[in-house]
């Protein structure tokens, strides 16, 4: 088996009948992806890009329209039971709904152990180990309905590992975890990949997290795979361009952003955090001079202007051409704005 995951020309369109009309939502278009055993791949994409759709097809919970997918050597359509045995799946977005809330943490894991063919004697030891790691030992015999969101996510992570699967499909596993637990989870995933050669497909909207964690990144956009490369290579794609970051005291107005876009040295403008714009430019020193002048005449109060290294986020924004969820577009014209004295 050369690949732990082999996706070939996968397509999926959701069809819903509304009266006489059928509404079609394309979610995946001809996606191909090959992942070797032990690889750790970050799957990125804006909301609605098709990440969850892809992962659900790989878990056999969703049937594709076309194309094929093999997981751990098993075909997702023809050998679905073997596929499910080979994967640990987690959907962080559900916020812990995917558990039996009336049961205790331990009973949830026990029941799932039965579903995954882990005998009770073996399961008992594993459950203790997992509960210990996720800091849930003390809450093992409490009903899940009394858990916080993060505790539920931890329990779902424990459940995904219970049968020791070779492939992990982690759909936003760090959503809802506090800073420390998110970090411990990242460390865990890293060591599972490095030491145990687990194959991991990981989605997250936290690009810093993905940049630190995943040696390889694939980007989905409107159902298409628009990039698939090592993380340094992807960041280097922008190396020919330079990034200048401008942080203003107040929110940007669209008119101001437009004027910056029209400056000769500016290639593109993206929102990048609170009151901050990231500008792609040819040569930073010259661009900064030009910018300072333009900003002065516009009367924008600048807090900070500097060159910085291109980050994965810049590549992501550049390729998908729209801001991520983390960054809001500039405030509309209607927003009140003080004029500088």
């Amino acid at each position: 088996m050369d690949y732990a995951l082999e996706v070939e020309g996968l397509s999926k369109t959701y069809r819903k009948r509304k009266g006489f009309k059928v509404r079609e939502t394309p979610a995946l278009e001809n996606v191909s992806l090959r992942v070797r055993p032990g690889e750790f791949v970050g799957l990125l994409g804006p909301n609605g890009a098709g990440k969850t759709t892809l992962l659900k097809i790989l878990c056999t919970l969703l049937l594709p329209d076309g194309g094929s997918a093999r997981l751990n050597g098993f075909d997702v359509l023809k050998q679905s039971e073997e596929v499910r045995r080979s994967i640990g799946w987690l959907h962080g977005e559900t916020g812990g709904r995917a558990l039996y809330w009336r049961l205790t943490a331990r009973d949830n894991l026990r029941f799932y152990a039965y579903l995954q063919d882990v005998p009770p004697r073996v399961a008992r030891e594993r459950i203790d180990t997992l509960l210990d790691f996720f800091g849930l030992r003390g809450d093992a015999d409490r009903q899940v309905l009394k858990f916080s969101t993060g505790m539920k996510v931890k329990l779902m992570l424990a459940r995904a590992l219970l049968h020791n699967p070779p492939v992990l499909l982690m759909d936003e596993p760090t959503v809802g975890l506090d800073v420390r637990m998110a970090r411990e989870t990242r460390d865990l995933l890293r060591s599972l990949s490095a030491e145990l050669q687990k194959t991991i497909l990981f989605t997250s909207h936290n690009l810093t997290e993905v940049e630190k964690l995943c040696p390889r990144v694939a980007i989905l956009h409107r159902g298409r795979l628009i990039a698939d490369d090592t993380t340094p290579n992807l960041a280097a794609r922008l190396k020919t361009r330079e990034i200048v970051e401008v942080k203003a005291m107040d929110a940007w107005r669209p008119a101001e952003v437009h004027r910056l876009q029209r400056l000769p040295s500016v290639k593109s403008v993206e929102a990048d955090g609170e009151n901050t714009l990231a500008l792609e430019v040819d040569e930073a020193p010259q661009a900064i001079l030009e910018l300072a002048q333009a900003l002065g005449t516009m009367g924008v109060r600048v807090q900070h202007i500097a060159q910085r290294e291109p980050r994965l986020e810049d590549v992501f924004l550049h390729l998908t051409g729209e801001p991520t969820t983390a960054t809001k577009p500039p405030t509309p014209e209607t927003a009140p704005r003080e004029t500088p004295e």
Binding site: E82, R85, Y114, R159, E195
Partner: protein, 290 residues
Amino acid sequence: MSLAESLSRWSPPGQTRIPFPSKLGAFVGRGFKIWWSYKLWVALDLLGTISFVLVYWFLSTIVSPERIRAAGYGESFFSFALVGIAYYQFLWASVQSLSRAIRDEQWMGTMETLLSGATSFPTVLLGESLYRFIEAAVFLVAALLVGAALGPLGLILTPATVLSALVLSLFLVTSHVAIGLFSAAMVLRIKEGDPVVWAFNWFNNLLSGVLYPIALLPPALAWVAQALPLTYALDGIRRVLLRGETLAGPAIQGDLAFLLLWTSLMLPLGLLAFRQSLRSVKRRGELGTY
């Protein structure tokens, strides 16, 4: 020791298999724990059983026993009606067990998790319905016991009649599994209780001789009743429990044959319908929605 080190000593998946009965046992255990966690349900279920027996006990003090005797089911309306109602409740709970279980998983949001394990879908189906089936059987026995406590039921309980009653009960359920599967297939798709099955349920209740012998029905309706499996099951079970007939008797064998025929015709259709529905839901990506 780190978690990764622990995992490195764990066997990979697929090296062990849990025997089929233990898996079913896990579903039953889970069902009981969830039921037990709703203390109010436990109380209401017990109260419900006692109160419906009381209602028919009062009814029996009003209805004359002559017509029951004329129909050939012993002496007492109360015994006649109690067997009918208790079995009807038992059947209804069994028929609904699968669709209710699916509705619950949808509500709880656990449908996708349940089907993301390595357990095959027929096992999940059986496991899902088994807990409620057992629950229904326990309430059936409880209802008969409460009835017996209110006065002599005149049930004839010998090893042969108990065995015969068990066999008839089993085939009563299998003959209705298809209906349950149709209902579950609908619920899986439309995410609501299924009106067709509720309608069938009322129809069944009125025509199959649950409360009165079908001999009392107008001829046209009596003719329809002859096509319903519940009619045959109740006829058989009453003959066994109220008159002491057994599987050796030709009347009981006739009832059983009809139930078997109905089962073998309908069960494959029910399974097919459910499989189609599951495929459709997986295609539309609505497995986990409610």
